[in-house]
Symmetry: C2
Subunit: 527 residues, 2 copies
């Protein structure tokens, strides 16, 4: 049941007087539940509880953390239809998508459970003493990863489950041993509260300390600001707009004690269409990309918003086909009237620039909050000269840049902002003729795809979801996959520490039987 | 031979008109060589060359990078006596220290050479395709670390070799495939130029691209500022004061594209003396700590500037012995009159605070630029109430805090700023009675030491040299040991990329025979 209150640790509290509702974009009406924004006192209490919980939780064994994470997954599934219906009513997304995203969320939790149950992720590294070394004895030094402290997670509007309350950031932080405080996304506060209730239930059932998780309602920016500035908060995870992410990054950097902010932000995900591929299968590519651009109403961070090719008949034919195909796709609902509004504004800004040629624009009437897809073309030189055209339009929108030659293509790529993904479409080894172009693309992205679409982010150890700024604020980490746990931990060394006082991961006996580097050899052996 | 010019890539250039000299603190006179500060044009040229060099150097094989790093080590050794004499003339440090630090520097270069020659450091992670997976095919995804781009290194005043021109930051960045631009430290510009000449010789001999390394002279802060703000610079390494490191961090955070800054800054390195240990071997501990406090004239970042104990006869006796022993040590020379000046100012600030009790102060006349050691005591409550007493005094200075009980000790530790190290001195399992104290210490430090001294940083894979702010600006990385390479790299994914176009590290054949994670199993096998 949705109460509209905040979870301050295990307790539902709502002493504030600022309230708000969520919105059903399909029905174009407000939902019924009333949410109460967290007060300054509630924020402070949540952080205090998290700080206290950290003392115990940071030392909780991997096996017990795994039980907790799996219990969260179980409790989310137990929410069953209430969660799916609430999700749909707050996002306008279809039931299939809700169930798919729930599966991904549960899968992520179980993947992290497996990771910490195994335990080898802590990168245990041991160099044993050499008392007789000349000119100085070598001490015994043992290193492992330890959690940073309370982490604040800002959920995404476009992934109410997989990148929000119990999404990747939260799962990774809890797995690492960091308590989590979620700044609930106002557009899906009900979904958020339900998931929070599942986490709290799991925490209570598995004996986790009160404060290991809190969920704070917020309708504006104040709750988030207070959390980022709180001296006891030690790291921030964010998924959302460049403006929002940068604001948090700037605040965190100005703290007396600056803290790491991992913000996964916007991206236009450039796609390079090489001539031979377009010649061989331009029609098929047009169909594939018409689908990819409109998938989820274009509301994926990996949406292909920028297609680049070299001028010629092949590219012209592709544009014609893409424009035809995309208009055959039925428009769909956006997440919220505000997001629909931003889509209209951003689309209009781009289309009102000089020398933009609209080749497809859905014009028939649609329901409120449904987005009409658009494809436009522009010359390479125009694109180069006008950085407004480089900006993301969040929604079913893509711009095709017609370059004079591969030099211009390379120059454009080298001047793009950082991107989550880059895609190269090419046939018959033509890619090898474009190695400079591919290098330029590689320098601007976190993931490069061959003959595919950027939408769809596989959750696996080899995935990088992140990239040079502003794709993320720290390209040295990924937001997806088990390596994302590294955002919330720091290495810690014990020197000549008594064996019985060491954490199990570093004891001579290797009681957890984890993989360790001992005197530069990887081994599961005892010492 | 020292020319006083800048290495802009392989060329010695000095078009500027701002000149300066280094200083011999032992003789209390200026050294002869005249150095010319780099101009804006020279800075820009160095970054342009580095950006161009990155294209080639980032793709240079580990084997070739290892040859380069080993050649740097060889060329540094070939500088022989000229380097040692210049080092001593610019630092006031003795020849033995110069040779020891040279050995460490050369050792670091060779360790990184070994790391990249082996090649497994790139964390190659492969998840092969599952075309038949339901409901969606799984793509082939392969991840490895790649270098960020041009890195700027600010050397330390107190380690002209091991943490400067060809020190740990430079060695790690070059090993990763990042070109390096060093902002030369004005106090040892001659040592810096000699080492730079060795790097350039090595680069030329081993066929590295022009621009892989530059060395820019600077007497003030302008050269460093321009480097940090240059859009083509992608990361910063710094060792020095909190004020200096924080200024660079702030600038980098305010760039249009923020870049990572790893600054290793100040630390007072708290040492906890437990009662039984003091009772059993207080005299011996006093001798050991008198040495550690004055080692290298107290100019180590791991100098024990803060000793904490619980009030009682044992602690009083220890203070008396420490005060006696430290006065028997001959004062030694500081690095520069400015550093000596800062020592006097900071010492006076601390000693002029209320309720400070000086128990040892060297009073006999000493040579210019020699530092007189000091030990002072203070009550726990006074220390808690006055954060000025928490600040580092760079030099042979230590303050002993006399706590009422372990609760007060724990409170003090929890309120300290972040530290590089923490040390616990305890006997007969008394440490296990102080688990809360140890936990509080652990939360504030990067390395914890048992029954030892914090001075001395072993270069080994398990070492963490870093810690919570302000010990470093990013506790998630270490500045010492092979893991420090992770500061300069980002993960990168290839999705469905053609095997022959993949880097060798990720090819099916595993031609480098490196250790890789393939479908979640660590293996050196082919696919």
């Amino acid at each position: 049941m949705i109460t509209g209150k905040n979870y301050i640790g295990n307790n539902l509290i709502a002493e504030g007087n600022k309230t708000y509702k969520t919105f059903n974009p399909q029905l174009n009406i407000e939902n019924e539940s009333v949410f109460t924004e967290a007060t300054s006192e509630e924020i402070d209490l949540a952080v205090k509880l998290a700080t206290k919980a950290y003392k115990k939780f940071s030392k909780t064994s991997g096996i017990r953390k795994a039980v907790f994470l799996n219990a969260i997954a179980d409790e989310i599934l137990a929410l069953d239809d209430e969660l799916i219906q609430t999700y749909c009513s707050e996002t306008g997304l279809p039931e299939g998508r809700a169930k798919g995203e729930r599966g991904r969320t549960v899968g992520q939790l179980r993947t992290f459970a497996k990771l910490v149950e195994d335990g080898s992720w802590v990168e245990a590294t041991i160099d044993t003493a050499q008392p007789d070394r000349e000119p100085m004895a070598r001490p015994d030094v043992r290193k492992m990863m330890m959690p940073l402290g309370p982490v604040v997670v800002f959920g995404a509007s476009n992934f109410p489950l997989a990148y929000s309350t119990a999404g990747g950031d939260t799962a990774a932080a809890l797995a690492s041993g960091c308590p989590v405080i979620v700044k609930s996304h106002p557009m899906h506060a009900g979904t958020g509260e339900l998931v929070a209730s599942a986490i709290i239930k799991a925490a209570e059932k598995t004996g986790m300390p009160n404060g290991v998780f809190s969920n704070l309602n917020s309708s504006g920016i104040e709750v988030g600001q207070k959390l980022v500035m709180h001296p006891q908060v030690k790291a921030i995870g964010f998924t959302g707009s460049i403006r929002g992410g940068r604001a948090l990054y700037d605040m965190a950097a100005q703290r007396e004690e600056p803290i790491p902010v991992f913000a996964e932000m916007g991206s236009v995900n450039p796609v390079i269409m090489l001539p031979t591929a377009l010649q061989n299968r331009g029609e098929e590519l047009a169909k594939t990309y018409a689908s990819s651009i409109t998938l989820g109403t274009g509301q994926f961070c990996t949406n292909p918003g920028l297609i680049l090719g070299i001028k010629g008949e092949e590219l012209s034919d592709f544009v014609a086909n893409l424009s035809k195909d995309i208009l055959e796709i039925d428009p769909s609902c956006m997440l919220h009237p505000n997001i629909k509004g931003a889509y209209e504004v951003n689309k209009t800004t781009i289309l009102s620039q000089d020398k933009i040629n609209v080749t497809a624009e859905f014009t028939k009437d649609v329901q409120s909050n449904y987005a009409k897809q658009v494809v436009a073309t522009v010359e390479g030189s125009t694109f180069l000269a006008n950085t407004k055209l480089h900006q993301e339009v969040f929604g079913p929108f893509s711009i095709v840049v017609q370059c004079e030659d591969s030099d211009e293509l390379e120059e454009i790529l080298s001047k793009l902002e950082g991107q989550l993904t880059g895609t190269v479409i090419g046939d018959n080894n033509e890619v090898s003729e474009y190695s400079e172009v591919v290098s330029a693309l590689q320098n601007r992205v976190g993931r490069i795809i061959f003959n595919g679409v950027p939408t769809g982010v596989e959750v696996c150890p080899s995935m990088v979801h992140g990239g040079p700024y502003p794709a993320s604020t720290d390209s040295r980490f990924t937001a997806v996959g088990v390596s994302s746990i590294k955002r919330w931990v720091r290495p810690f060394s014990y020197q000549d520490w008594p064996n019985d006082l060491l954490p199990d991961e570093l004891k001579n006996e290797n009681p957890l039987e984890i993989l360790r580097s001992v005197n530069r050899e990887l081994t599961t052996s005892k010492i």
